[in-house]
């Protein structure tokens, strides 16, 4: 700007004014500018509840009443100016009693910040050009033709003749600049931030502290009923319930119940909660109970049945999940598991026991697919047990195996089945030596799965067919 580059100038002119390489050419895209302006207006909502973009290059903010929050109008505006500057914009600011006045002063008044005091609007705009009144081009030209260049001169004209000579627009703009006519702006609506759905929370406070188990049990059931009602209204079921019992003079007791599948059945939830409540140390008495469904899942409405017409798959599954929940809440979630096949040929790693509660219900999930029909023992020992073997010839079939203190005479021996380590595994502890597996039968009919480590030539029993 200092070099004299103005909007509307040709690119060649600007290049002539500025030193070599000082001109950066970017395509003018009004839509992107508009979007950016709207974003700025959204941002400006932190200074005032009313902010509106004023395309193409303005921002209107109604700060009346907001100065209280910023300890004064000047502080507010300077803070706004600094913030806009930090965002990378060069801004001219004006504070005035009316939008019209502020518009003109910001564009045609002094550099930086101008503050027009209450009642100083006429004085502030009278020295500005008539363009500062937000007039259309035709009206401006008409005013210029009769020698009116300044807004003050336009204000001095007799009011009665203005509409007839220049149309109604000029009078309205004059009045708006002086604050005589109302002006509406279209403020940005604040974007609602994403807020998590309020968890279902129910609470009861006792009249006085109580240590009676019956009272607490009744209250918990009551809370469960209330919670189930609210969950039913939302069409969801609880997957985790947190209970807090506030006690007199001591820390509150917190209990948590985790479910494998969303449920809002009071009967089931009570079956999980009841035994836990019984064991709570109530101290000097419980003052209140709060119950929160901190994790919920969708649960579609189920038609109540008057007569049992038959069983559906869904209800059977629900029964199983209730069983799983009950087990998991008594034994711990990791003690209720399902086996998931893993794509590997290493026997001890071929299946993973996953806790049932950690299971995500995936559609189309099909475990068991792609399992090769290998002959594997029905019992795989947790860790292979070292054994001593005797073979008649070094690489021939085994004749005796000493295992668990007994000597087994081998009558049949099939193999070897060679299982190589997975070379793509990184650590040496994850890889074992190449193994040759043999399926052997002793004379009593016991079948063992023994292997030899090729490195070191050691023998182990890895499994049994029982």
């Amino acid at each position: 700007m200092g070099a004299g580059v103005r909007p509307g100038m040709s690119l060649a002119h600007a290049r002539a004014l500025l030193p070599l390489g000082g001109v950066q050419v970017e395509l003018f895209t009004p839509e992107r500018d508009g979007a950016s302006l709207r974003a700025l207006a959204q941002w400006a909502l932190r200074f005032s509840p009313l902010a509106a973009p004023d395309p193409p290059d303005g921002l209107l903010v109604d700060i009346s009443g907001c100065q209280q929050l910023f300890r004064g109008e000047r502080r507010l505006v300077s803070q706004l100016a600094r913030a806009v500057e930090r965002l990378g914009f060069t801004a001219r600011l004006a504070v005035a009693p009316s939008f019209g006045c502020a518009w003109g002063v910001a564009r045609f008044g002094g550099e930086g910040l101008t503050i027009v005091a209450e009642g100083g609007a006429r004085e502030a705009i009278s020295s500005l050009p008539v363009e500062s009144l937000r007039l259309d081009e035709g009206t401006c030209l008409a005013l210029h033709e009769i020698g009116v260049w300044r807004a003050g001169e336009a204000l001095a004209m007799p009011r009665a003749s203005i509409p007839a000579r220049f149309g109604p627009g000029l009078l309205l703009r004059l009045d708006q600049a002086l604050g005589r006519a109302p002006e509406t702006i279209e403020p940005m609506r604040p974007v609602e931030p994403m807020r998590p759905v309020e968890p279902v929370r129910v609470e009861r406070v006792f009249d006085g502290p109580t240590a009676r188990l019956e009272a607490i049990e009744v209250t918990v059931r009551d809370l469960l009923t209330a919670m189930a009602k609210e969950l039913a209204r939302r069409g969801s079921g609880a997957m985790r319930i947190d209970i807090e019992l506030t006690r007199v003079d001591s820390e509150p007791v917190r209990l948590a119940v985790i479910l494998g599948r969303a449920s809002r059945s009071v009967h089931h939830l009570w079956a999980l909660l009841g035994p836990r409540i019984e064991r709570v140390n109530m101290g000097f008495g419980v003052e209140g109970i709060a119950m929160t469904a901190s994790r919920t899942g969708r649960l579609r409405h189920e038609q109540a049945e008057c007569w049992r017409t038959g069983r559906e798959g869904g209800t059977d599954d629900a029964a199983l999940w209730e069983l799983v929940d009950t087990f998991a809440n008594r034994f711990g979630p990791e003690r209720v598991a399902r086996a998931e096949p893993v794509a590997t040929h290493i026997p001890e790693r071929a299946f993973r026991m996953c806790p049932m509660l950690a299971r995500r219900a995936r559609a189309g999930e099909k475990p068991g697919g792609g399992l090769a029909p290998w002959d594997r023992p029905s019992l795989l020992l947790d860790s292979p047990e070292p054994v001593r073997v005797i073979a008649v010839t070094p690489d021939g079939p085994l004749s005796r195996v000493q295992w668990r203190g007994g000597e087994h005479r081998i009558v049949t021996c099939t193999g070897p089945e060679r299982l190589s380590p997975e070379w793509w595994r990184a650590g040496p502890d994850e890889r074992h030596a190449t193994r040759d597996y043999f399926k052997v039968q002793d004379e009593e009919g016991r079948w063992l799965w023994v292997y030899r480590e090729l490195e070191g030539n050691r023998w182990f029993v890895h499994g049994v067919w029982e």
Binding site: L320, L323, F331, P341, P347, G369, E444, E466
Partner: protein, 303 residues
């Protein structure tokens, strides 16, 4: 005299009604539920025997080739072949007959699915967890058993009994396979009642040294290891698939008068290709094979 007669008649009627009520399985509305699970080994027991056993066996427990639901089946072993009474196999390293359990669980699941419901199989006790590869089945099956198996490992004996009872009462469960070590008479009665309330096939494994313990189980089975001809025999075309073999013997069947030789021990073999425990072909041949029961026998004869 007439009065006494009618009184006696009334008492008789009453007794009949009480018996009927007692025998009616609780909570079993469907006809199919009272039926047993086919083991597929009926061929070895033979149909003629089954007929001579009469309906008491059919209704109650182990009709040949049929394992009743709603009662507890106790399984001992496996013990070594030569002498079961010695109980050599039952030290601390005891492990249940997992192949047979996997087979029965699969049969139970198939049975439940044919009845129109998707059942679940619950394995209770770490000792009873079969290596999942066995559950995944052979070439023929699609891993349904593995998919519908739940494994749980209660930390203590009380918890184990509680878990078995709860699983038995759950209507989504079609088979419960549990480690029943150390369950006493009261506990087994609890289990029997729970089994009666549900419709699950209940298989409880116990070590062989507990064979003398009292129990309320409906049947007790003993599994002994049997030498198998092995792969070599298979190649030479003699007999068998060459898998592990066991002798399954019915030790006790509640409510059935012991008839000598009624249910003689049956030799079964693990066929990993099918993922099933079957009666080996050579045994079928020896038994005469003249039977309608068991598809296995049929296929053998046509082959």
């Amino acid at each position: 005299m007439l009065a006494i007669l009618s009184q006696r008649q009334g008492l008789h009627d009453l007794a009949e009604r009480v018996r009927a009520i007692e025998n009616r399985p609780a909570g079993q509305a469907q006809e199919g539920d009272t039926r047993g699970v086919p083991t597929g080994w009926g061929v070895a027991w033979g149909p003629a025997r089954a007929a001579s056993e009469g309906e008491s066996v059919q209704g109650q427990t182990g009709a040949p080739g049929l394992l009743a639901r709603g009662v507890v089946h106790e399984w001992f072993g496996p013990v070594d072949a030569p002498d079961a009474a010695r109980g050599r196999g039952g030290q601390s390293v005891w492990s249940p007959p997992l192949c047979i359990f996997a087979h029965l669980a699969r049969r139970s699941l198939v049975d439940a699915q044919s009845g129109g419901s998707d059942g679940w199989v619950v394995w209770i006790g770490r000792r009873c967890w079969a290596y999942p590869r066995v559950l995944a089945g052979g070439r023929d099956t699609d891993g349904a058993l593995l998919d519908r198996s739940v494994f749980t490992d209660p930390p203590d004996d009380g918890g184990r009994l509680w878990a078995i009872e709860l699983a038995l009462r759950c209507r989504a469960v079609t088979a419960v396979i549990a480690d029943g070590r150390g369950v006493d008479m009261a506990g087994s009665r609890r289990l029997q009642l729970a089994a009666k309330a549900g419709r699950a096939l209940c298989l409880v494994a116990r070590p062989a040294e507990e064979m003398r313990e009292l129990s309320a189980a409906a049947t007790r089975w003993l599994v002994r290891r049997a030498p198998s001809p092995g792969e070599s025999a298979k190649e030479s075309g003699e007999a068998g698939e060459g898998g592990p073999r066991w002798i399954v013997e019915l030790l006790r069947c509640k409510g059935v008068r012991p008839v000598a030789g009624a249910l003689r021990p049956v030799i079964v073999e693990w066929d990993h290709a099918q993922g099933a425990v079957v009666v080996p072909a050579d045994v079928v041949r020896r038994a005469g094979g003249a039977t309608d029961e068991g598809e296995r026998g049929r296929t053998r004869r046509t082959a």
